[in-house]
């Protein structure tokens, strides 16, 4: 649907569309204060934030932001208060007007739109969730959830049907006729989420949505959001100052400081290769066990046995490598289990000839996916004498993770950790 729009729209610049990027932010500046454009002149542009403020009275909100966000990505904007993260998310929907630079969403330049087009674009594209919920206290939960549809001019009946649907999705069935004031914080934010989702937006903007909630509710909401996102696959831009939240939720994280991006990367990159001291400070108490995945530390198994080659070959292979057990796979490289030396010997010594090693002779072991974080593997490791096999969705054998590898990767490297 959008592709045809793009072709006919004069605002589209074809050459600059990167197919995989839904949102492209280029050289974005936001300066607060009088006559803010002059700060962008050559004279001031190079100065630091404090110097500019002293000389012109203008405050830099955002400085030369360049970001690309992919469709369906869970993108985190992280920073301390005053780092410009909330300003940036408001620029994306133009609740705050950028001073210069461009924001392209689906190839359309948001910064060049007139007011009417902008309103239409907001209605079609965005849903937004706010830190303090931003609910309408004079409306019922149902009317709150239906508000975006009301703005679009959809009939009462249709919008109530849709609103009931999303309220059920966020677990608020039965609360439709209450006012938001009589709901708890967590439930109010569910209303906020339902309101944003009712429009079925392509892009979901979330401005510190969970930072006002108490820890247990917060964790629960995060888990539910992950679950929802698995189903929806929307582009989510999520502002937070909480590193753990960022690492848990984000596909990619952009860290902001004083209105500038300091580092952009996956949670793992941020934790393992912080770009500078600021990021290092941020991630100091982040547990690597929460971000490092099995896929990154796994190694190829020393030996692999093939079920169709028969017990004798397997036994020889084991003995040659001085091993007591090894993983065994079938022809399509699917993991079958662990074959032990004694069991193989039994098979070989049997009077009748055994061609293929039968499943009954193997021991089934728990496996993990490449995306499993180390923390989730602790319980497996402690109950299991073998290394943990890593398999893909089709149960194909990818590699192994040993206890030693796990502990090695979660122990801070000497020197670096003490900066």
């Amino acid at each position: 649907m959008f592709d045809t729009n793009i072709v006919n729209d004069p605002e589209t610049v074809h050459s600059e569309i990167n197919n995989s990027s839904q949102i492209v932010i280029k050289d974005l500046w936001k300066v607060f204060g009088r006559d803010s454009k002059r700060v962008l002149g050559r004279k001031y542009k190079v100065l630091s934030k404090d110097e500019i403020q002293e000389k012109t009275g203008c405050v830099i909100g955002l400085r030369e932001i360049n970001l690309e966000i992919k469709k369906g990505e869970f993108y985190i904007l992280m920073g301390l208060s005053g780092s410009g993260k909330s300003t940036l998310i408001r620029n994306l929907i133009r609740l705050v007007k950028p001073t210069s630079g461009s924001i392209k969403i689906n190839g359309k330049n948001l910064t060049k739109m007139n007011h009417e087009k902008l309103l239409k674009f907001r209605r079609q594209t965005f849903g937004m969730v706010f830190q303090h919920y931003g609910l309408f206290p004079h409306l019922t939960v149902l009317d709150n959830a239906a508000y975006g549809l009301k703005v679009r001019g959809i009939s009462k009946e249709d919008r109530y049907t849709k609103a009931r649907e999303v309220l059920e999705t966020v677990g608020l069935k039965g609360w439709e006729d209450y006012h938001p004031g009589s709901l708890s914080g967590g439930m109010q934010q569910r209303v906020g989420l339902a309101r944003a989702l009712a429009n079925d937006p392509e892009i979901l903007l979330m401005d510190e949505p969970f930072s006002g909630l108490d820890p247990l509710i917060k964790r629960q909401m995060q888990d539910e959001l992950i679950e929802l996102q698995d189903k929806m696959q929307k582009t989510i831009i999520f502002v937070t100052h909480d590193l753990h939240e960022a690492l848990k939720l984000g596909d990619r994280i952009a860290i902001l400081r004083n209105g500038e991006t300091v580092q952009v990367g996956t949670p793992e990159e941020i934790v393992t290769q912080p770009a500078d001291d600021y990021v290092q400070d941020f991630v100091r108490d982040a547990s690597p066990a929460k971000v490092i995945t099995a896929g990154t530390i796994m190694e190829p198994a020393k030996i692999i046995l093939y079920a169709w080659e028969g017990p004798k070959t397997a036994l020889t292979l084991l003995r040659n490598n001085k091993r007591r057990a090894a993983f065994i796979v079938d022809k399509s490289h699917k993991l079958l289990g662990v074959a032990r030396e004694d069991k193989l010997e039994e098979l070989v010594n049997k009077p009748e000839k055994v061609g293929k090693i039968p499943a009954s002779a193997l021991r089934r072991v728990p496996s993990v996916g490449p995306d499993t974080i180390l923390e989730d593997m602790f319980s497996i490791v402690t109950k299991n004498q073998y290394p943990v096999p890593v398999v893909d969705k089709n149960n194909r054998f990818l590699g192994v993770v040993t206890t030693d590898q796990i502990f090695e990767s979660i122990t801070p490297t000497e020197g670096e950790g003490n900066v």
Partner: protein
């Protein structure tokens, strides 16, 4: 003691006098038209309040006290107060005063609420309007009562005019403050869904500012009630004129009766209008 140099004079008085006489000559028809409209509204309300007999209005006041203010007892007190006014012999005059108040509040809201909305939307408008509102509230009323007389002649219309000038600032101010203090995120949420300025105003800002606006309406009503007494000096019939006559004749008791009638009216009107501002959710 230093005297201010006499050479430095700004002939503001002369200028204003000149403008006044110019307006009187050239915009005579315009003021007549305004006067006519205002008069129609007052006469309409007056006809209504004088048409309804006392045995209808007293129970109505009681019902308002019971249902709106909340307690059965309040309704009873309202009825007693109204009954007392009647027993003083001021029923008709108090109804005339009431219609003057209601008519001036009607015009004050017609002007005040849109003005307050505009004030909330632009810092510049706010900066300009604030001193004007200060002036309207603190300028001794006689200063504009006389020009009003010159434009509209004696009677109800100049009294209404002066009342509106005096009574409109609170509703403007509180509409402005009410809208400005609406939860920022609620407004942002509405905008984020692509709501137009009008949708934001009617869906979010006005409903959330309603308690503040209601306080403004209550204040405007009270000030209008205070002002109609002065209005009686330029020929608007009502309780105020009775107070004036009593003072001139040094009839202390009569003055108190008329004065108390105004107070009773004020209490009833205040409680009823205030009840709107604290509407329970």
């Amino acid at each position: 003691m230093f005297k201010f140099p006499e050479v430095v004079t700004i002939p503001l008085a002369k200028g204003i006098d000149f403008i006044m006489s110019w307006l009187l000559i050239h915009l005579d028809g315009f003021f007549d038209a305004i006067g006519f409209i205002i008069l129609q509204v007052v006469v309409g309300f007056e006809a209504l309040f004088l048409f309804l007999p006392w045995f209808v209005i007293i129970p109505l006041a009681g019902l308002a006290g019971w249902k709106l203010v909340g307690k059965c007892k309040t309704g009873l007190v309202f009825m007693i107060l109204m009954f007392l006014i009647g027993s003083f012999g001021y029923w008709e005059l108090s109804m005339r005063t009431l219609s003057l108040v209601v008519a001036s509040v009607f015009f004050s809201l017609l002007i005040g609420i849109p003005m307050g909305i505009n004030m909330a939307r632009s810092d510049k408008t706010e900066a300009i309007l604030k001193p004007v509102l200060d002036g309207m509230q603190t300028m001794p009323s006689f200063v504009y009562l006389i020009p009003a007389l010159m434009f509209f002649g004696m009677g109800k219309v100049p009294a209404m005019f002066a009342t509106i000038i005096y009574a409109v600032p609170p509703v403007i101010r509180l509409t402005n403050v009410g809208i400005r203090t609406v939860d920022v995120e609620a407004v942002e949420a509405s905008k984020a869904f692509g709501a137009t300025a009008k949708q934001v105003l009617f869906d979010v800002q006005l409903p959330l500012a309603k308690p503040a606006i209601m306080v403004g309406i209550n204040q405007t009503t009270m000030m209008a009630l205070a002002m109609v007494v002065i209005g009686s000096m330029i020929g608007a019939k009502g309780l105020g004129m009775e107070v004036l006559l009593a003072i001139n004749r040094i009839e202390v008791g009569k003055g108190f009766e008329a004065g108390l009638s105004i107070v009773f009216l004020a209490i009833i009107v205040d409680r009823i209008t205030f009840s709107f501002s604290e509407k329970k959710q």
